[in-house]
């Protein structure tokens, strides 16, 4: 654990990995969109509208996955006080909020066609909306304190409290009668979705995930650069303060 908690090591490691994940995510997203739009067959019920699935479902997976990651890194930050864990959680949260928003908007477009309405207040949609608000609350809380350490710790506790929402999202389609269709990929007894649709979906999901990993590393590097910048500026202020008061330093 501690080997990865070293910021300098992270900067070296991420600089080596970043170009690969970035390039691979671009290739996979390009290939995925090509397969989704040109190769995948239309659904026998939903027709061409099923193509929305390839951008909607990966966004939904990422929305939950990123929240789980925020909660996990928050727990690590609270228990072992790793500075990198805090940075990882705070860097991941806005990305997760972005995927959640994407999930809601594309889902709304899909629902508008298939259900004839842009929004229904069923359990799945409501719990994902709550997830979006949890992301926003986390981001607001982290930035609400003058002392950054306070915000990080408070945010970490909130992230852990919000974990109760994840099983609700996952099982909402099984527990309640909803318009939203049940899981067709991650289920006991194997996927119910046709292979010609499954492959483009999995490629898109991998592309989304790698894009997230790339952006997460970029944001973590940004946060580390900012920390370095703060330290440099602080050192300069102290040096100037010392040069302004030569007598006092001579006396002491």
């Amino acid at each position: 654990m501690h080997r990865f908690a070293n910021p300098a090591r992270f900067m070296r490691l991420s600089a080596a990995i970043l170009p690969w994940t970035a390039a691979l995510s671009v290739v996979l997203l390009g290939l995925g969109i090509y397969l989704a739009l040109f190769v995948a067959p239309p659904d026998y019920q939903q027709g061409e509208a099923v193509r929305i699935m390839y951008v909607h479902v990966p966004a939904a997976w990422l929305a939950s996955f990123v929240y789980a990651l925020v909660a996990l890194t928050s727990a690590i930050a609270l228990i072992w006080r790793h500075p990198l864990a805090d940075i990882a959680a705070q860097s991941a949260a806005p990305l997760g909020a972005g995927f959640t928003l994407l999930c809601l908007v594309t889902g709304s477009l899909w629902g508008a066609r298939m259900w004839g309405t842009w929004w229904v207040w069923d359990a799945r949609l409501t719990s994902v909306l709550v997830l979006f608000f949890l992301y926003l609350g986390y981001i607001a809380l982290v930035n609400a304190f003058d002392e950054p350490g306070r915000g990080a710790r408070a945010g970490a506790i909130l992230a852990l409290v919000g974990v109760v929402n994840l099983p609700i999202i996952k099982f909402s389609v099984d527990w309640w009668n909803t318009l939203h269709q049940p899981a067709s990929v991650f289920r006991l007894g194997g996927p119910t979705i046709a292979a010609a649709m499954l492959w483009p979906l999995l490629i898109m999901a991998l592309g989304y995930t790698l894009l997230f990993a790339t952006l997460l590393m970029v944001r973590m590097r940004t946060a580390l650069l900012a920390a370095k910048l703060r330290a440099l500026r602080l050192a300069e202020v102290e040096r100037e303060a010392a040069s302004l008061m030569p007598q006092q330093t001579a006396l002491s």
Binding site: L136, A140, L141, L158, G162
Partner: protein, 221 residues
């Protein structure tokens, strides 16, 4: 146990000395409810249809109103640090504070709600379940609110932040509270909804003090 009781009594005394938190909360509840007939029109059928939802949403906002001050005064005058050093675990103290908060908000709201139901032409079948659902639901509001109050201690714009943190977590309570009342009016069983409210309370009772105490500890660090 006696330390727990002393803490509850202390908070109740403070609440009443500071000019009646309960009166303020109930006043807000009544006034906001009275606004609705002007806003949506006075037709009894329409009001009866939305009465359960209005009562629950307004009760929720009224409970939120006094949450900001749950730990604020103790934090500002430093007595929170003294409380943290007491032999009684911080979790139990949070529970005591939630109980005191519920006694001056949730309980009065539950008592007043049926009277306001009359103003909104709530169906006669709904009253017992309305009271029962509020009795089961409002303690959860205080408990979950304590987490938000602890987390937003000392934050900039703490009040707005608190509602942003807490309101999403209140949604399930609102859903099942309203569903219980509507079910009883429509002639369906309210029991499953009430049981879910109870389950929510049973979960919040141990977990919320745990999280709120953790929030207080990090605020004191």
């Amino acid at each position: 146990m006696s330390a727990f009781r002393r803490l509850v009594l202390r908070d109740l005394r403070l609440a009443f000395r500071q000019g009646g938190d309960a009166a303020m909360v109930v006043g807000f509840f009544v006034l906001t409810i009275v606004l609705f007939p002007f806003g949506v029109g006075p037709e009894p059928a329409l009001l009866a249809r939305i009465a359960a939802g209005i009562l629950w949403v307004t009760a929720l906002l009224a409970a939120l109103l006094s949450l900001e001050r749950l730990f604020q005064a103790d934090w500002e005058d430093g007595s929170l640090e003294a409380l943290a050093l007491m032999p009684l675990p911080l979790e139990a103290q949070v529970l005591a504070k939630c109980l005191a908060h519920w006694l001056v908000t949730g309980l009065p709201l539950t008592v007043v709600a049926p009277l306001l139901g009359l103003l909104l032409h709530l169906d006669a079948a709904g009253y017992p379940v309305l009271v029962l659902s509020l009795l089961l639901g409002t303690p959860s509001l205080s408990l979950i609110g304590a987490i938000g109050a602890g987390l937003s201690l000392g934050a900039r714009r703490g009040g707005v932040l608190l509602s942003l943190l807490v309101l999403p977590l209140y949604i399930p309570i609102l859903i099942f509270g309203v569903a219980a009342v509507e079910a009883s009016i429509g002639g369906f069983a309210a029991r499953p909804h009430l049981l879910l409210l109870g389950a929510f309370l049973a979960g919040a009772l141990p977990l919320a003090p745990l999280a709120a105490a953790a929030a207080l500890r990090q605020a004191l660090e």
